[in-house]
Symmetry: D2
Subunit: 176 residues, 4 copies
């Protein structure tokens, strides 16, 4: 599951308050899709997941948190999503990142936002290398490291989470 | 100004999609108040700031980003805010943190959320020590460290931001 | 066991190449004492440990790494160490830090170096608060966060270690 | 200049207490070479630097810290160093890292240690990719992030240093 601070930054970068349709690619159990749907009742959300077990949990979570509107799609992107999106989130790190980025940019309307999170160095490289060849602007790449104050004996220490990389960019508005 | 990742986590922790009234204490130039108002059009926002120059910039930013609804209050908390709040954000680190926390909890409705961010070790200690004596639940304290990929010569390095501490908790719903 | 990067910084701060006698307080299984003894054959090393099981492992490690010179002392500081020291390392975080600091400074010759590492916020506070009242100079306090590249599936991520605090200072050379 | 915690870990990884000859490639103003020479009086140290201004400072620092033994070499590696080394440190990030690694491994005796530090993502990738094809064992790659407690107004915050990557490995002892 995407950690809280990373998810918060990802959602902020997706600029959902002015979005109409978010596609969550590799939605897992739905933490991003559901938080987005709860915070933005007007938002259409499509969650794509290729793992049937995760998709089952996602369905359950949608019921539990009262988000029946989230459209669940079983499968592997690239696949057909009919509505164009103005926000795409890629949270999984299952390889084929270049293809996934191309497909995401194809779904996005001009000016739409793409946000990707991952922990693998290899994904950082392939995403940065590939995005350098894509029609995107305003690329921002951050490394986030969070630690949580945790009781230990008589005191408290900061328990570290693994560093996560987040890339955000915008699809170019004007085709040259 | 509160850094992007910290602001995103703070806003997420404030659970504004189910809030009616946010008080931003030590609002500075308004980055939290404005992002909250833009993301949640239904939300009443009160921004308190004691620095006249910052308050001037806050007014300007409210105009620029189209948030006339944000109520600007000149002064130092504790002061009188008529409407109870279900979310209070303390972003400044100007000392008197214990008093500020007491005042914030007094403004909050039961179950309302308090979020504090700061960089000073002394504030971390005094906040944690004081909150241990307050009627709050679900206390969470995180240290966030973000670094941003930045061009240098032929390559890129992660430029570090200073670590920031964030405390979030909830005012107790039931008085014992 | 003290993590590698923290131990390296601690040993560097102890300036052992110009030291005659290092006391390792709360030596645990001896990682600092043994690395110090191996790197500096001329150095006298006293390792104090109150946990009999740890002391047993320490004895075994001394044999294994060929450091018979390390003097092992069973007990809790404060206790009597006959030789004054020019370097004291406190690696444990077992409370009573103020007393331990006072005792360490009493063992040190003027200009001798004291290095303390811990993970607990409470220890950070009590060490800083107490040292502010002691006759020390050149106080340096760092937070270290290391992460190690680790294989995961087809790639590698940086696995985080918990942040550690390190304080180093020098006993004042001249009494005023 | 290589930051203190990184330098300490680098020196520790170089295992200089059992080394005879350290080559410092891209020695800059000599912080690693000089600390190594001071800590290990028996160690032969060769410092290579291609920037004449830095080399001038290095000479001055050698005098100031009393390390006349450090052999200063003006030039760009690869160049001829007559004595084989059992420890090589690459601290600069001036590109051509693959060549520099090959040259360093050629200087090393079997079992000798190579340590590289840098801040550029591009160097991290090229070093890891290249080392995967080299005859090395025990590769360890760490990311280090240090922050220093710093006074601000009435309090103290941790001032962040940029994250640094450190790679350490050993030249294979037995050719297959």
């Amino acid at each position: 599951m995407t950690k809280e601070a990373v998810r918060a930054l990802a959602l902020s970068k997706l600029a959902l308050h002015r979005a109409k349709h978010l596609i969550d690619v590799g939605a897992g159990t739905g933490s991003v899709a559901i938080e987005a749907a709860l915070a933005h009742p007007q938002l259409q959300v499509t969650a794509i997941e290729r793992n049937p077990a995760a998709l089952g949990l996602l369905e359950e979570n949608c019921r539990r948190f009262g988000c029946p509107r989230i459209e669940r799609v079983f499968g592997v992107a690239p696949l057909v999503v009919e509505q164009p999106a103005d926000a795409v989130f890629i949270g999984g790190s299952g390889g084929h990142l270049s293809q996934l980025i191309d497909w995401s940019l194809a779904q996005l309307t001009p000016g739409g936002r793409l946000v990707i999170t991952f922990i693998l160095q290899e994904n950082l490289n392939s995403a940065l290398t590939h995005l350098a060849t894509c029609k995107v602007t305003g690329l921002d790449c951050q490394q986030l490291q969070a630690s949580t104050l945790t009781a230990l004996g008589q005191g408290h220490y900061f328990k570290a989470q693994n560093p996560v990389f987040l890339i955000a960019c915008e699809k170019e508005s004007h085709h040259v």
